[in-house]
């Protein structure tokens, strides 16, 4: 592809950096990213990936915009009652016409996850429950798809980049899912997903434009109250149920989620 003169202007601050240049920008414009969830984490991820000029942005979510979302879901203003994927699509189209949005108003489930991720280069996990997180991890490991993890709880968040088989996956660290989702009822500081989501988006842009060092084998643990970032070294677990030496999970089976 060749950048148009409008694109050269729009992305001038990217292009002027030698390490990114026109080549890096073209990689972004040719890329396909699937964002799972368009809520707290999804809002900043969608916002910044759209601004960066990701060519195709798939967005999957089955929720509609509620007033209690707007304390943190900053892309849905004025769209109460609308499906979040439509609201997100409107936002992106206003911000950057270079981006093609594919909106999926549905839940990600064992029956559709493999087909959905197969159309994309990378997947961003902005979901809000353990079932979807474990499902996405397993599908991405089985299909060797980079997965950009972010999750939040009250004043704290976790970020890591999963390059299947190269580094540890989610199950290497948290092999099975807790039976309860404490985050469901705990509340969240509205700015927190902004911090975590922009770190996920940073990792996506770096990966696609082949820049820097990915957050692989490390997890960033952010604590807003202490204003601390802890970097935790995480290793591949040989006993990991999905990417270990003798995996028990070798296909997506609804019983596991």
């Amino acid at each position: 592809m060749k950048l148009t003169s409008d694109q050269k202007e729009r992305y001038a601050k990217h292009i002027i950096m030698k390490s990114m240049g026109e080549e890096g920008q073209k990689l972004l414009l040719e890329s396909r990213v699937l964002c799972v969830g368009s809520g707290g984490l999804g809002s900043p991820v969608i916002q910044y990936l759209a601004a960066a000029g990701i060519g195709t942005l798939g967005i999957i979510d089955d929720d509609v915009v509620e007033i209690s979302n707007l304390q943190r879901q900053v892309i849905h203003g004025g769209n109460l009652g609308k499906p979040k994927v439509e609201s997100a699509k409107e936002f992106v189209e206003r911000l950057n016409p270079d981006v093609t949005v594919v909106a999926y108003k549905m839940r990600m489930e064992p029956g559709n996850v493999e087909e959905l991720i197969s159309d994309y280069d990378v997947v961003v996990d902005c979901s809000d429950n353990f079932a979807t997180r474990y499902l996405l991890n397993d599908a991405c490991v089985l299909h060797n798809k980079p997965l950009f993890h972010g999750s939040i709880f009250m004043f704290e968040g976790q970020v890591m980049t999963i390059l299947p088989h190269e580094g540890p996956c989610y199950r290497c660290i948290f092999s099975t899912s807790p039976s309860t989702d404490a985050a469901r009822t705990a509340g969240v500081m509205g700015i927190l997903p902004g911090v975590i989501g922009t770190m996920q988006a940073t990792e996506v842009v770096k990966y696609i434009s082949r820049l820097g060092k990915p957050l692989v084998g490390r997890m960033i643990y952010y604590d807003a109250l202490g204003m601390r970032f802890d970097e935790i070294t995480v290793n591949k677990n040989p006993k990991c149920p999905v990417c270990g030496d003798n995996p028990q999970i070798t296909s997506i089976d609804a019983e596991n989620y």
């Binding site: 999750s151 469901r184 802890d230």
Partner: protein, 94 residues
Amino acid sequence: MVMAKIKLFANLRESAGESEMEMQGENVQEILDGLLTRFPQLQELIFNDVEGNRELRSYINILINGNNILHLEGLDTIVNDDDEIAIFPPVSGG
């Protein structure tokens, strides 16, 4: 006596009502025993009860100075003065 610093995260922090504390013990097991004596409500968040035996829940991570005890000596890992022990679960919010 060895004195280590404990850091709790996410719902463990919420349940204990404190995020950082100091605890005495020669190894991770002793440190955890002290922690659970002080905060008995953490017992079921950190351990499974398997036929009367305590087993660390598979999604709970315990790190000493950033290293997972799974890759050290597990609960028998020796603790030194001023070590920082972090205990964290996964979180699901998005």
